[in-house]
């Protein structure tokens, strides 16, 4: 008779397992094409955005930090390989309005022509890759607007001289095309447009750039990530700045992404000093080959708001 409770427990357990199978159907859309989930673990890769958005009513508190040059003339042992300095810091609150639309606000120190920057952003998931390749890629649209609150420079020739409020504003528009390959590798291609209302002499108000990034899963919680942007700066602008001894470099970053349940922690090295796309794509003047790369991290902590209300529905 003692075996009966054991049999009952086994049967109950099998029902629970079947219930888990049913749960997976929640991710199927109405046409039966199952979307690929978790192309990236976070809404950011290293410097730029991934295709991922926050879930509905999810709040993401983010902190990003870039230290000083690890090597080169301003790095080395005297600055603890850059740890004594910070080139940029960004603190953000981002929120999922729906499962496909997120918005956010942030404040960044800024590293470039402008500093003391406030940012408003929105990202929308337009397409989701499906497991049966009915839709082969995920596509997200990202846009932001920034406003610098720094004191206007007296010099008319400075990019940070502001005659009007709009001179303080910059914009980014980006299409993020992503694909996850066999659960191990995810790649993105990100055509990007940057507009700065006021720029320095011979700089570009409008600039296109092409970004590329990848993620290779190393274990359940650890992944290698890399990111690169190629800004299309015109030759006249390059030549002018070269004559002044200034050379622009393409931003390149590599790092590790660690997921710790609720947190996604990215430790990375980049040559770009700035965090916001508005600055790092067009204004990176530091080179990996000259030791001008830096340690940085992105921390993301997500909170589910209004969770009980959704549950009751």
């Amino acid at each position: 008779m003692r075996i009966l409770p054991l049999l009952f427990a086994c049967c109950s357990l099998s029902m629970v397992c079947r219930a888990q199978d049913d749960l997976s159907k929640m991710f199927e859309d109405s046409t039966g094409h199952r979307p690929v989930i978790g192309t990236f673990k976070s809404t950011r890769i290293i410097m730029g955005h991934s295709n991922e958005t926050l879930k509905k009513h999810e709040l993401d508190f983010r902190v990003a930090h870039r230290f000083g040059d690890a090597g080169g003339e301003f790095g080395g042992g005297k600055t603890a390989f850059g740890l004594d300095n910070s080139t940029d810091i960004r603190i953000a609150f981002e929120y999922g309005i729906s499962d496909d639309l997120m918005v956010g606000i942030s404040r960044a120190k800024g590293s470039g022509d402008l500093s003391q920057i406030f940012e408003g952003l929105a990202k929308y998931r337009l397409l989701k890759q499906t497991t049966d390749n009915h839709i082969p890629v995920s596509v997200s649209l990202f846009g932001n607007v920034t406003v610098s609150t720094m004191t206007s420079n007296d010099a008319l020739a400075s990019a940070s001289h502001f005659d009007e409020f709009t001179d303080r504003m910059t914009y980014v528009g980006q299409v993020i095309i992503a694909r996850k390959f066999a659960d191990l590798v995810s790649l993105t291609l990100s055509p990007t447009y940057i507009h700065r209302n006021r720029v320095g002499y011979m700089d570009m108000n409008n600039m296109f750039a092409l970004g590329g990034s990848g993620r290779i899963k190393l274990s359940k919680r650890l992944a290698f990530i890399a990111e690169y942007y190629y800004p299309f700066r015109n030759q006249a602008s390059k030549d002018y700045y070269k004559s002044l001894g200034v050379k622009f470099y393409n931003p390149l970053g590599a790092g590790l992404e660690i997921e710790t349940g609720g947190h996604v922690f990215s430790v990375n090295f980049t040559n770009s000093t700035a965090i916001l796309e508005n600055q790092f794509i067009g204004e990176t003047k530091s080179s990996w080959l000259q030791g001008q790369f830096r340690w940085g991290f992105n921390i993301s902590r997500r909170f589910s708001l209004f969770g009980k209300r959704d549950w009751k529905k």
Partner: protein, 120 residues
């Protein structure tokens, strides 16, 4: 629906705020006449350099090889790297010293002194 309308309104405001402005060319320094009439001694310029630069830019480990520990070394550096020095120290986009660019009057004086061939 209200949220989407709000976002579209914000987008419209952002697009409406777009302008295309470019800063004027950086100042090439004082006019020749102004500079010609100025008498700027090397000791004055080097005093400014000592007060603002030599704390870091001194000795064999000076950043970018910019050793300003003596007037002669400062002169030699400026002679060989005039464009860089003008851009980073005395132009409108100067980023040196790191804690804040020198005042406009001081930058004009250094510019004039360099333009006149860095006289004694």
């Amino acid at each position: 629906m209200k949220t989407y309308l709000l976002l579209i309104s914000l987008l419209a405001v952002a697009v409406y705020s777009c302008t295309n402005k470019e800063a004027i060319a950086p100042d090439s320094g004082p006019q020749t006449g102004d500079c010609d009439s100025k008498q700027i001694p090397a000791a004055y310029v080097y005093g400014i350099i000592q007060s603002n630069c030599t704390r870091c830019h001194s000795g064999a480990t000076a950043p970018a090889g910019a050793d300003f520990s003596t007037l002669e070394k400062f002169r030699n550096f400026v002679s060989g790297n005039e464009a860089t020095f003008r851009l980073r120290v005395i132009s409108a986009q100067a980023d040196m010293p790191p804690r804040g660019a020198l005042g406009a009057g001081i930058r004009d004086s250094i510019n004039c002194w360099i333009s006149k061939g860095m006289p004694e």
